[in-house]
């Protein structure tokens, strides 16, 4: 693969600094570097390893009201970002991809550093699963980065989405997170087959007898905070 993904690492950051220093004059040759920090604001919904995508206009990880891609379904039902990132890497508008290497527990934060050539229409997309759900996820769809200056940060509170690919049965067999250990991705589509806002979970404590979830797994919006800092 030609495009490189950078995890939290000092060496790529140093490389970025050097490259940026060499190519001040021409924006298209300038390399920009961002630190992306995700904070899990839920009570008991670990967030699967985060997938981060830098891209120009023309790429979307999802669209409200449109059927989820198979790769988004793999992330939203099973918490596995590999297919989504592979698909993004092959897209002509995508300039860089990265994945975190671990889930983010409730209350915790995790950071990724990612770099890309600078473009006026550069945007950031991000996706991560609420693992104690059937197919809930959160993230950002094409957040514009063009106005972010060096050392400037932007924090965005994000809502939970429903991939619409799996019914929200909340059963032990279908929820993959630590609350259940059930099945993750299954290509069958037994929900409305379009992405939308997540309706929340009912849980056994609110009368859904077949639910493996309890009151602690309920959530409201916002579900996470995403802070983007332009390092270089």
């Amino acid at each position: 693969m030609k495009r490189k993904s950078f995890y939290l690492a000092g060496v790529p950051l140093l490389l970025t600094t050097l490259l940026a220093g060499c190519f001040h004059a021409n924006d298209t040759n300038t390399v920009v570097s961002y630190q992306v920090t995700v904070t899990n604001l839920s009570e008991a919904q670990p967030l699967s390893p985060v997938a981060v995508i830098l891209h120009r206009s023309g790429y979307h990880t999802w669209k409200i009201g449109t059927a989820a891609s198979d790769s988004l379904e793999q992330l939203a039902e099973g918490g596995i970002p590999a297919a989504l990132l592979a698909e993004a890497s092959a897209h002509t508008s995508v300039t860089a991809t990265a994945a975190d290497n671990a889930a983010i527990p409730p209350g915790a934060s995790s950071s990724i550093i990612i770099q890309s050539p600078l473009h006026g229409d550069l945007a950031l997309s991000l996706a991560t699963m609420l693992v104690n759900t059937n197919d809930g996820f959160t993230g950002l769809d094409a957040e514009p980065l063009g106005t972010l200056s060096r050392q400037e940060s932007r924090s965005i509170l994000v809502a939970a989405y429903d991939a619409g690919t799996e019914a929200n049965s909340e059963t032990a067999a279908t929820v993959p997170g630590p609350a259940a250990g059930g099945e993750g991705y299954n290509s069958a589509r037994d929900d409305r087959n379009s992405v939308g806002g997540h309706p929340g979970v009912v849980s056994i404590d609110d009368g859904l007898g077949s639910s493996v979830l309890n009151a602690s797994h309920r959530f409201d919006n916002p579900i996470a905070r995403i802070t983007i800092t332009r390092l270089q």
């Binding site: 409200i64 009201g65 449109t66 809502a159 939970a160 429903d162 619409g164 019914a167 929200n168 049965s169 909340e170 409305r192 379009s194 992405v195 939308g196 806002g197 997540h198 309706p199 929340g200 009912v202 609110d206 009368g207 859904l208 007898g209 409201d220 919006n221």
Partner: protein
């Protein structure tokens, strides 16, 4: 013709004053899982006017919209104000996940934007925007909208066709998922002014139980809609 052109130029120079006429493109997206929007009313009106206000009792025309989706009274109210309205841009119901896009030309002084539509199936829930100051710089602005309870009808969650103001019950479930035979969640409405909607309870029983709504399907979390305004 000459006179007409001169008139247009004159109008153009007037438009340079702070309270200017504006050319807007607006997109509204239903973010819910299974809740429909009845015909939307979008109104650009002078400052100090409202379709609804938090903590204030609903007008009878707001009640008619919130309980039965009838915007005709609110249209009359806003027309009297000289507002610039768009009525029913989706041509009927706006289904979950769907969007409607339209243009709105606002006259000088109509610099605040309000909108309403009933949430179906609910007793008197609606999506709303109360007197947003319309941005004046060219660009694209994104907002999210919450669900409100008109406070005019008990949230019994019984689908019985009751859409006339003052008549208990929910007019219909356009998605066709609602059950029958519910005994009613409640017969009272403690908060009789416009407030944030507490959501629906529902149950898992299609033929009895307390509610005709399905707790796994008809739930929602705020925000229930996305509003994107492009100032041209």
């Amino acid at each position: 013709m000459q006179r007409l052109i001169r008139t247009l130029i004159l109008t153009g120079s007037l438009a340079a004053t702070p309270a200017m006429a504006q050319d807007l493109n607006i997109t509204i997206t239903n973010l819910t899982h299974a809740t429909y929007f009845t015909p939307l009313l979008i109104s650009a009106h002078p400052e100090g006017n409202h379709l609804f206000q938090l903590g204030v009792a609903a007008t009878s025309n707001l009640q008619a919209m919130a309980e039965g989706g009838d915007i005709s009274g609110l249209v009359t109210d806003t027309t009297t104000l000289g507002a610039d309205n768009v009525e029913n841009p989706a041509g009927g119901l706006l289904a979950p996940g769907n969007s409607t896009t339209f243009s709105l030309m606002t006259a000088i002084g109509n610099d605040h934007l309000s909108l309403t539509a009933m949430l179906l199936p609910t007793n008197d829930g609606f999506v709303g925007l109360d007197a947003l100051k319309i941005p004046t710089s060219a660009g694209t602005y994104r907002y999210t909208l919450n669900s409100y309870d008109a406070g005019t009808e008990a949230n019994d969650e019984i689908v019985n066709g009751g859409g006339t103001p003052g008549v208990p019950g929910i007019p219909a479930d356009p998605g066709g998922i609602a059950g029958t035979g519910g005994t009613g969640v409640t017969a009272t409405e403690a908060n009789s002014v416009v407030h944030i909607h507490r959501g629906v309870i529902g149950d898992m029983d299609a033929t009895s139980g307390i509610s005709d709504l399905d707790s796994r399907v008809h739930r929602w979390l705020n925000p229930v809609a996305e509003l994107v305004i492009t100032v041209n």
